[in-house]
Symmetry: C2
Subunit: 196 residues, 2 copies
């Protein structure tokens, strides 16, 4: 059932998608829909949950494989982006819902993203050269990293599915950008004058 619904986010955004189209795609009569979900928005939330449950698990694995400094960025980016490619439809769905979905959807996705940011901030707090950075700035750095990766992910989703060259380019770009950010992080002091 969900299978046919994944094929959904391929073209139109979820919001402009009728119950009947879904059931037609699933090869089933419209009224059969209600046997599974009371509502279209319920379907949406279920899809969202399904998307993030597996993503969270993957992120946990990435976080645990402790690698030395430089290798870490490259490795994380690589596993993340191949994961994206293997779950293309789910990411397409989430990407469109982030800004185009209902209020509850958007908030749910933002909550998940904030969670990733916090976890990254915690990981970064263990870096020895970041002891002089206060918690707020740590959060700000982590959100910068996450936002950039998200943006690049969305850009990659815009590419053709089998444009391997383009996707590889995105990966390299992501790695460079994150490394660049880390250069900046190493330089940062939380006590510079606010200059307001």
């Amino acid at each position: 059932m969900d299978a046919a619904l994944d094929l959904v986010a391929k073209k139109a955004p979820f919001s402009s998608l009728s119950l009947r189209e879904v059931t037609k795609r699933a090869g089933v009569v419209p009224t059969a829909f209600y046997r599974h979900f009371p509502d279209m928005s319920a379907l949406g939330l279920t899809l969202l949950d399904e998307s993030f449950r597996t993503l969270r698990q993957m992120m946990r694995e990435v976080r645990q494989q402790e690698l030395p400094n430089e290798r870490m960025i490259r490795g994380s980016m690589e596993t993340f982006f191949t994961y994206v490619r293997n779950n293309r439809t789910h990411f397409l769905f989430v990407s469109k819902e982030l800004y185009g979905g209902s209020a509850t959807m958007r908030q749910a996705i933002r909550r998940e993203i904030r969670l990733f940011v916090s976890e990254l901030a915690m990981d970064m707090a263990r870096f020895p050269f970041l002891v002089r950075v206060n918690a707020e700035d740590l959060q700000m750095m982590a959100s910068l990293v996450v936002n950039s990766v998200v943006a690049l992910t969305q850009e990659m989703l815009e590419l053709d599915e089998d444009d391997e060259a383009g996707q590889h380019e995105m990966l390299i770009m992501a790695e460079k950008q994150v490394r660049l950010i880390y250069f900046g992080v190493a330089q940062w002091r939380s006590d510079v004058p606010p200059r307001t």
Copy 2:
């Protein structure tokens, strides 16, 4: 006419929006729509054009006011974000269309964004400490800056319209993030081993 259509992007994404809703909101009979646009997607493209024409002009002004290093970041961010607040509906529209719109819409928006990136890259090329950075990396840095600002803008649009505290927080965050990136930029050398 366009006035009533701006009030449109306040709730639903443009794609899931009927011709009749628009005309009703405009206080006009459905068929009158065709006197102005042949099509809903034509309306969308017009709205898009309207949004970016003024934006481009503003960006040009920001680019010309040459300020010394530190002041520049703060100043640019300030004028940009107040511009966003003053054109809230337009940005809401564009933000939703970036990922939720039709293929032609998305491509049009991406083209505009790439244009901003290129212009920023050109400006950055004039910095004395960036002579050792090749063109490709310049592009990558500029896109990092633009992506971050875009992400923060979208986050700000999620806030309540008159949550001034929250919006100010976004502004400060944006300034910090861009400054952080510039720290990294100052450290960058294009000839580090690619480590592939």
